[in-house]
Subunit: 377 residues, 5 copies
């Protein structure tokens, strides 16, 4: 739970801007490089930042694909070689940044949040969110993600296929494709949430209990997390579309707009789901109130029938001295006992009839508006 | 239910932009062409994209009316011939886009959602939403809808009538008419919802039960769907009106504004209905609370009357040894039994009077503000 | 009820823009003309559109005052003579438009909603809303309202008085006066609602029942209707003030601003009333909860006192064989019966004392914060 | 109550713009004039508008301080002499305007709402709101308030002190000081509300009853009124700061900004209080639900213990013919009665233990999360 | 409590702008000066304002670090020497200002709120908020905080370290670092709140009682306070970034943007926490309703089983004269007593079965949707 709501920063408060602390746990980071010269595509795993930079310097379009932020020295060295601002490098390491775009002149820095289904548990609410930092330079793209495993494989696959246009376009096109793939990853996440909400919708109406509410509530939290990822992205894309950037050529403009459209759709879906989940609480509470009402009705019907009868039985259990002629003459009647049962049954029948009229017995009742309806169960 | 809330995309996450998967189910798409040269109007059903394009090339105003998105090859070919961007063509096939307008220079691309009453079930909440993609080029309009059956028949009819101005105007006028017809289709949809809400309003006050709430809730979902269709349309039209476009002549400007007015009205009505439906939940919950209160009151009145009496009867059913003069001398009184009933009835009467005063018996009571009012039933 | 929430359009969905259907019911429309040449004011009732137009053409300031939209031919003819756009004429006939202002170059078209108290029933919630369409041309004003009877009589009266400035000013001043009179009509309407809300405020606190809530709810609906009339008007006036128009001279500017101020005030009052009415629901629900609590307390106090006593009475009503010395020796005690009553009364007193301490008996109790307070009734 | 929510206008709907009706009740208006020539300050009480105007015409900085709007003729005459627009004069008389600033070229007209503590009752919710109209001209300031008694005395005092800068600055500085003094008056008002809210906060948690809610609700109304005064003021000041005005010299700019800061603070505080008061309703409702729960628990515990026992006692009160050996042999047992009590007490003890486990008895219980906590009382 | 919600101003309403009253309580203010000439850094504690100003005048970058606002004369003297506007000096002393930035030409004045953990009690909700006033001049920075003890120590430490860039940059860089350190201090504060919310989340679902709600409510208040500190800061930073200022060099631009990012993150977190805390109230109320339902069910089950049995026992406790053959012949049956128990047990078993079916006994029940689920406890 603490995972999604509280993000504990590793740098202490008051640390110098640009300072960062890399996480010590987790697998060691892996740096892969994919370089395309328009014709062929080469994939390599350079030994260090220097080797990676040599590949960038060799021309063409290079994608530096760093998975894991555990190696601070590597990050710093790469940053230095590529000319990244130290605040931007710190933002990469201090994951948990808000999605944003920053313009450092010849480098465009984008922070975005990526969601990937957990390997084992693919049910709603167990997806993993992580920060992806993307730097777009002249001829190269650097992406850094918090841990290995992502939703960028389709892009890698398309790069490997010889005929795809992705090989012929520039670095900005590659960056757009990567961002698009990350945003595309929101849809299966939302579909999982949507499916869970539909199940909950049935539950909340038909058989709600405390676990239902806890689940609704968990979905609301998931949606809060998604929302925090998607809303700033919306602004980010609006800004990119409005202001443009020298690094973004006019060819990529429609692709940027296409991704922006997806972001808007994501935000729409999140808002609709939030509203839906919120309405479940109303339904749940009214269902609870209904059930309390039902329980009360059972109690009242039962008590109403037996309490008067019990009183009557109590009366004829009294020990007044029946030698006085006015004291409980009924006891001496020949049919007294039968009369008692007769009166009792009549009383019970009257009561039942009255309750039936009030619609408390679950039978059909006539509503004031004149139409016949099933009474609530 | 999944129909309206979750829209499952057919393309896998991470697919290349511009990729699309056409749905395999459903009837085969039908392409019809209506061409007007200002004088006569010809309707044809071309064999393929090429034949359709020849008609466009022949001049005049041509409406390509494609019903169904099941034929990906046809879509791609048409797109190629008419010079549509492949992202736009993908948006046509990947139905479920957000309403939007996109400017591709010499083609204007509009996505809008259309609602049509289901053939069989015309009651509220069973209307079918689908995406309509409209391309406006120089001299032609292409509309693509998800399935046959729509609300564009009035436009087709007006095209067939010789005297109508629609035959003399340009392609932009035709596009405006088509969009207007689609927006006009929202009104009967909202009227159906409105009528259902009015019925529910009566129910929720007079005879609410769980089905009422479920129905209110279903209407809220319908309104969520309508809202997702209408709100982005509002922005779309504002944008069109503000920025204009070379393809839109000044003659169509008032018609555009007229449709924009209708969109604003639709949004107004949706918001009012949403507020109305939300207020029903309050009324429902208070009605439930009222009924629980009523049930409780019945129980309490009954118990309050009989519990003391039963105790009294219990007392005189005790077996104290009456030979001791202080042990239950009442039992030996000549009028003991009558006294018992007298006391009992007096007690019950007092209780009833007190409850009547509290207004628990449904009789008239005097409120603190001094005016006489009907007690709640 | 359907009156205010659903507005059923007379034109079928998909009708050509500019098409309209005039209502068939209602009294026949009346056209009156008031013409002022700065000196004298003449009132006439022309036979048809042509005669009316001749009066306009004669110069001065002419007010064409058409009451009723039942005569489509008259509307169309007037529209043609005055050079009105056919979409605007359709908006006049298809009443139920959103308030708006439209600039047709030499004609300014304003749609506004007017509220008038119903003749018979002047209580809150029975006011009649209708659309007023106002056209301002060079030297003339045309107003069309849905039915006779309005709140423009003060303007007519001022026109008849020789000394009033309204006679010396231009058509734009007249138009401003008419709009101002319509907006002024909102105030008595809101005062009626406000008075009803104040009554409801007393009721909801002192003696709420289901009719109270229904009434609160009706007021909320009234406010929804008012809001739909006032909010777009707010935008309309802001637009007029910001952009100006050649037909509006600088003299009328302060009057326009004055009316805009009134519109802002109306919106403020509506929002305050809406908030007020919404808070009544909270109060109502808590009042219900309070009453249920009160009922429960009565039941519990009663049961708590008598249930143990009844048990005790039951004990001594048992028939154990008292010949065994350990079987119910109390029955044989000389003061057993008195002891029973003593114990019983002591028990009841203890219970009552405990309940008094808990504040359940309505007597004074000491709150934890140490101050003495009246217990809730 | 009608005081703050409904403001009944004195002019009838449809009155000519610029028409006004002065209130007939209240003390007669008092006009005082304070004139400063940079050196000395003279206070006078002129006989009429003409005398007052002569003082203005004599140069220096003149403050016309009119307390009371009961004298329409005086208002009209003053307006005429000072060249005020008749709509502005009407706004002065028709108090209840929305705070605003209006630019009439050489006169700046500001409407603001002033709050003053009622002389007698200084508790929260009894403060008096009134409209202050301020006109700033070249060399003079005219303030008109609805009734004598205000929060401008500190300004008057500062004017009388020889050394204060207020005597050396221009009319715009004086106007700023007056507005600042009025805005400063909001703080004690809000502090009174804040103190009341703090008391209510304690009450609502510790000993809520219906009067608490009514009081919370009254505070909400007070805040609504304050909000209606402060929000438009916020816009007014933003507008003044943004657009400036020839009458406002650059020296007054910081003072204007200072007052704007105060207005923003006021709005902040109001919004915080509104949220706080709204949260009290939640707390109150949950407290009610808690108490109902508590009452129910007492009833249930009691009933659960005694109902089985009473049944048992009833059983042994039956009159089966004990001569049959299988009919109630327990009655004949020597220790039957003791056994009855033994069983009864064991049953009660078991029940109590079970309820203790459920935490219903108010004793300590172990929550599922394993920590020990005080059970709710 | 009054601490955070009501801020009582020390200046009386209507005081002259620029007037201020310094608090009399608290430790005496301490003025420290840190001066850096790019090479070495000197820390001094000047005797008074004049000595401090001499250090500023000596060149380099000087940080005047005044802790405590108790010495009004010192403040006024410092303000005079540094050329601060008297309104700004008043804002320093009248702590409780809204965060803002003000441009006085050659001095930039920033008000910000700082939160520091209380020394002793580091749990959530015991943090201390205070105002920090920061003046940035050419070559100097003056910070004034309400009391000693702050979160600026990391900056002081960095200044003392010879190698840090903070020594080489200008005054604007120092100001940015100070503001950044203050904003950084919000994160531990929010983390404490977040941790408390997580604990409450467990409590509210598993074992809610009144203290839980009071705690939730306290957290909501904390968040209100944080929000009032962070929201205006957001605007402040947006303004600084948008408009720039001659005193802010382009080197500090990225650091400013970095801090702005942190502010946006803080606002995001606060809004998420607010929503979370608000949802706890729903969960709490539904949990209460659940418990009432549970209590009611226990009562109803018990009553339903024993009430009919008690009636039966009552019947056979009646004293009808059994000499009449029709009067209670059961009493004379040989197995009457056994039959009574048989019937009684059968009845109880039937009842239990029925309740089990309804899911009232906590056993498994089959929901309508067909899946087996744990019944609510």
């Amino acid at each position: 739970m603490s995972r999604s709501i509280i993000h504990r920063r590793r740098t202490p408060a008051g640390a110098a801007p640009g300072a960062f602390v890399t996480p010590s746990e987790g697998p060691p980071p892996v740096l892969r490089v994919v370089r395309s010269d328009g014709e062929s595509v080469v994939e390599e795993t350079p030994a260090g930042a220097r080797e990676a930079f040599d590949l960038v310097a060799a021309g063409g379009v290079t994608w530096l694909d760093l998975q894991g932020i555990g190696d601070g020295a590597l990050l710093a060295e790469l940053g230095g070689l590529l000319g990244l601002h130290r605040l931007a490098v710190a933002d990469v390491a201090n994951a948990g940044q808000r999605p944003k775009v920053e313009d450092y002149g010849d480098v465009l820095f984008v922070v975005i949040r990526m969601v990937t289904a957990d390997g084992a548990d693919r049910s709603a609410g167990h997806d993993r969110w992580e920060q992806v930092s993307l730097f777009l330079g002249r001829g190269w793209v650097l992406t850094v993600q918090e841990a290995p495993g992502d939703c960028l494989d389709p892009v890698r696959r398309r790069l490997r296929e010889p005929s795809r246009s992705i090989r012929r376009e520039g670095a900005d096109y590659l960056a757009c494709m990567l961002l698009d793939a990350i945003v595309d990853g929101y849809f299966p996440h939302l579909e999982r949430i949507g499916e869970r909400l539909e199940e909950l919708e049935v539950e909340v109406v038909e058989a709600p209990d405390e676990t239902t509410l806890a689940e609704v509530y968990r979905m609301r939290r998931e949606l809060m997390t998604s929302r925090r990822a998607a809303w700033p992205l919306r602004e980010t894309y609006s800004q990119l579309l409005r202001d443009g950037h020298p690094l973004l050529t006019s060819t990529t403009q429609p692709y940027l707009r296409d991704t922006a459209d997806h972001v808007f759709q994501v935000v729409d879906v999140i808002e609709t789901y939030r509203e839906l989940a919120a309405s479940f609480v109303d339904v749940y509470l009214s269902s609870l109130a209904n059930r309390t009402n039902e329980v009360m009705r059972v109690l009242t019907v039962l008590a109403s029938i037996f309490v008067p009868l019990t009183f009557l039985a109590g009366v004829y259990g009294m020990n007044f001295d029946t030698r006085a002629p006015l004291n409980m003459p009924e006891l001496r009647w020949e049919y007294g006992y039968l009369a008692f049962w007769g009166i009792g049954l009549a009383l019970a029948a009257t009561m039942l009839l009255a309750f039936r009229r009030l619609g408390w017995l679950g039978g059909p009742r006539r509503s004031r508006s004149g139409k016949r309806r099933e009474a609530p169960r």
